[in-house]
Amino acid sequence: MEEITGRFTIEGWENVQINIGEIVEEEEEWEPMGPYPFPKMADLRDWDFKLLNRYKPFYAPQCDVCALCTFGKCDLTGNKYGACGIRMDAMQGRIVLLACLVGCSAHTAHARHMIHDLERKWGLDVPFDLGTEINVTAPLTQLITGIKPKKVRDFLPVLDYIEENIVQLADALHTGQEGSYLDFESKALQMGMLDSLGKEVADMIQIAYYNMPHGESNQPFFEVGMGTIDTNKPTIIVIGHNAPPSFDIVDYLMENGLEDEVELGGICCTAIDITRKYQKAKIASALGRQLRVVRAGFADVIVIDEQCIRADILKQAKAVGSPVICTNDKAMHGLVDRTNDDPDAIINDLVEGNVPGVVILDPFKVGRVAVEVARKIHPKRAKKEYILSDEAFERWLGECIQCGNCTFACPQGLKIGSANKKALEGDTEPLAKLFDQCVGCGRCEQVCKKHIPIVDLMVKAARPIIEKEKGKMRAGRGPVRDTEIRQVGAPIVLGTIPGIIAPIGCGNYPNGTEDVYTIVNEFASRGYIVTLTGCMAIDAAFWLDDEGKSVYERYPDDFDKGCVLNIGSCVSNAHIHGAAIKVASIFARRQIRANYDEIADYILNRVGACGVAWGAMSQKAASIATGFNRLGIPAVVGPHGVKYRRAYLGRRDLPEKWKVYDVRNGEEIQCEPCPEHLIVAVETIEECLPMMAKLCFRVADTPPGRQIKLTHYIDLSMKYLKVMPPDWHLYVRSEADLPLAKKEYYLKLLEDEHGWEIDWEKKKIVSGPIKGVDPSFNPTLLERLLPERR
C-alpha cells in the first residue's frame, strides 16, 4: 500500500475528517495467524502447567512473615495460612510475581519513555532497516502478538498490550486473590514473557532511532575499566539504562569537536548503549563498582537516568563534589525540576555548587549542560584528591579493632578486620583481594563504630590493580542475523556446536568478577556460542589472558561455534530469545506467528541454550530469567540467587515427570531428564560449569550432538569437581552417544556401576538406557500438535 498521510476532505462529506495516519493498516499476511495472538494470562496456562508439573516450584522463603496488608504481619512459618487465607507457598509465588512485575515494568516503561522522548524529534515513522540479512525482524513481537513491525509506530499496539497485561497481573497481587502457587507461577511466567517482549521493543526502538548496529559481526573495540578514564580531562560519568540523554551528550561533543577534550565514561547499560555508536566512550565499570567509581571522585558531573543507580547517589556524589543531573522522572532524588530553565543558569548553579544537582527531563537539553558543567568545574575539582593518602590509610588501619561488625553486615561476609590487620603489618594483598569480591554496597561502613571508610581502604589497597584493570570490549552488535541462523542451525542440532551459553545480568557474584571470565572462556574454548549482555558483558572484559587479550579480543563475535558476542545492554537480551525463536522459524520452518507454546516447546526439546546470571541481583534479572524459562530456556544463577526464593527444579529420579509425545504417532515416550531444571541456583563456579553443560542436553539431540555435549559435561565435572557426574549415564541412549576417546571405559562403567547389559563383541549397549536413539523422533509436550488433534 502506498503511504498516504495527512488530512483529506471527500466531496459531499466535507464535515468528515479523514486522518489517514490513524487508519489501522491491514497487517501483511506474512504467515497465517497462530492460535494465541496477544495472549492474556489464562491463554498459555496449559503450557505453564506442563512446565510447572515437570519443574515444580521450589521455595526458600527469605521471610516467614507477610506484612502486605493491615491484617498482618502474618506468621506463615511451616506453610501456615495468613489472615487473608494465603499460605507460605502461594505467598512466595506472589513475591516472585511482584519481582517480575517490577522487572518487566522497568523494561517496558523504558521503551515507552524513549518513544515519547524521541517521537517529538523524529516522529513515529522511522523504519527498521535491519539490512538484507535479517527478515525475521522482531521475533518476540511476531511470536507473541502476530505483528511484524516495520517502523516505530507499529510497536505502539505492542506496548499497549504489555501495559494492559502488566496491570492485569498486578491486580492479582492484591490481598485476597490468587490462592494457588501454581497460578501465581503461571502469572509470573506470563510476566516473564511480557518482559522479553518489552525488552525487544525497547532495543528495536533505540536501534531504529539511533541507527545502532543491526547484528553486524566484527564490531569495533572500546575500552573498559576505571583505569582507562583519563582523569586529566573533564569527565562525565553516565549511569543507568535510558540512553537518550547520554546520546545528547555524544551529539553535543561531536557537534562541538570536543571528543578528545572531554572524557565520557559510564556505568551499566546506558554506557553499553552509547558505545554501540560512539566508541570513544568508555565503560568505567558494571554496577558492582558504581560506589567505587563515584567515590574515586573523577566524575566532574554525573548524569543519571533510570535503574540500577545507587539510591544514595546524591550523598555519595556530594562527598566528592560531583554535581548530579537527573534526567528521568523515575529517579528525581528530591531535586528541583529545571527542565524549562535557562541552561546557563543551570550550568552556573551546578558549577558554583549552589545546588547538589538538578532535574532535566528533556533529553535534548542535557548534552550542553552536562558537557559545559564538566568543562567548567574540572579545573576547580582537579585539585582535590579523593583517594586516601598513605598517611590516612595507615591511620585508619590503626583504628580498626577487629570487632567483626563489618563482617556481620557484609552481604558477602568479607573478613575486613583481619585484612586490615595484615595491611597494617605491611601486607596489603588480602585487603586488595577483597576489592573484587566486594559488591560495593557500603553496608560495612555504616556499622563500623570507628567510622573507618572501609570501601576507601580497599580502593587504596587495590589501586595498583585498578590501574591495570583495562580491558577491551566490542560494541554491542544487537540481533543475530537470519543468515547466521541458517549456518548454525544444523551444527547446533548435529552437535558440532554443543550449545548457546548466555551470561546475562548483574554483578552480585559470590566471589568477584573472575568467574565471569572463567565461564566465558571455558565455554567459548569448547566451541559453545557465548552471547553476553548487561553487567556480565562488561565484567567479562576485565580479565585478560596471557597475551593480554580480553575474551572479546580472543574470540570473534559471529553467532557461531566458539565465538563471544557482546549482544548489547540488558534490553538487547531479547535478541537471545530471538535467536532461539529464529532457529525454529528459519532452520525448522515452524510458523512462529502468535504461536508461543509450539515454539517454546520446540526450544525446550531441541535448542541447547542455557542462560547464566551469575550475579543476578535485580528484579529485572528475575523477570528476564522467568521469560527465558517460559520460552523453554533454562537458566543458572549464582548462590545469591536463592534470595529470589523460587527455583524451578526437575527431578531426574521421577521417571513419570520425563515423558514426551512423539508427533509421528502420538505415543508417549519415556525420555531422559533434559533439560533437568529451568532455573537453579548453584553454590560455586566449580558447580556452575558442569551444570550449564548439563542443561544444554535436549531430548532431540542427535548422537553426535549428544556425544559432544556428554563429553563436555563429564570433562567439566572431572576438571572442576573431580568426579564423574552422578547422572551422566542417564543421557546415554546408545553407544553412539558415548565420548569417543574412552568409549570402552564408559561401557565398562555402565556395565559395572549401572548394571547395563553390554555386547562387548559389537561394543554395543543391549539394555540399560531410558530410551534408544531414533533419528526421526519428533518430541513435543503439546497434545494439540499430535496427529489426532490437528
Binding site: G413, V680, E683, E687, K722
Partner: protein
C-alpha cells in the same frame, strides 16, 4: 549448660538482617546436637565448600566415620576424593538435594528412604540459610530437622550455635570435637 543465649551478639544472625519469623533457631550446646544426631533414625550431614578450609574436613570425616552419611556439595567433594575417604559420601548439588528432602516419598541417597535430621556444615552461609528455611517451612510431614553446626547463628535452623568470630575459632573447633565425642 554453656549456651550463650543471654549474650546479645550470639543471637544476632551472622548476616545481620537475616531475621526469620518467630521460629528462630534454638541456641544449643554441641552435646545437644550430638544427641539429636545420635537418636535420629536417618541423619544426613550436608557439607559445603567451606569444609575445605583449615581443619574442617578432618572433622567432617570424623563425623562420617561415626556412621553418618555425607552429602558433599559443590567442591567439598574434592576434599573427600583427595583424602580417599572410604565412608558413605555422595556428591550432591544442594539445591537438588534440598528439593528432594521436601518430598516425603523421596527414596534418599541410598534408596532406603529420606532423612529425619540433616546437619549443615560448611555450606556458604546465605545458601545454607535459604535451604534450612525451605526445610523448616515445607518438610514438616514427616518432620525433618534441619540443624547447623557452623560457626554462625542460623535463625532458620532448628538448632544452631551462636556466632563465633575469628577470635573464638579454637573454642568453636573444640565444640565440634565435643559434638563428635557425643556420637
Amino acid at each position: 549448660m554453656d549456651c550463650n543465649c543471654c549474650s546479645p551478639q550470639s543471637s544476632i544472625p551472622f548476616d545481620v538482617g537475616n531475621i526469620p519469623g518467630p521460629e528462630s533457631g534454638r541456641l544449643v550446646t554441641p552435646e545437644t546436637i550430638g544427641r539429636l544426631i545420635k537418636s535420629a533414625k536417618r541423619p544426613l550431614l550436608i557439607v559445603g565448600a567451606e569444609i575445605l578450609e583449615d581443619r574442617m574436613i578432618e572433622r567432617a570425616i570424623a563425623i562420617g566415620k561415626k556412621g553418618v552419611p555425607i552429602a558433599a556439595t559443590g567442591p567439598a567433594i574434592r576434599g573427600f576424593v583427595e583424602r580417599e575417604y572410604d565412608g558413605e559420601v555422595y556428591y550432591c548439588q544442594l539445591h537438588e538435594l534440598t528439593n528432594c528432602l521436601l518430598d516425603p516419598e523421596w527414596k534418599g541417597l541410598d534408596g532406603k528412604g529420606s532423612y529425619d535430621v540433616v546437619v549443615f556444615f560448611g555450606v556458604t552461609y546465605y545458601y545454607a540459610s535459604a535451604m534450612l528455611s525451605a526445610i523448616k517451612n515445607f518438610a514438616t510431614n514427616p518432620l525433618i530437622r534441619g540443624v547447623s553446626i557452623d560457626r554462625y547463628y542460623h535463625p532458620h535452623a532448628r538448632m544452631t550455635f551462636g556466632n563465633y568470630g575469628p577470635k573464638r575459632e579454637e573454642e568453636y573447633l573444640r565444640m565440634i570435637d565435643k559434638l563428635i565425642a557425643t556420637l
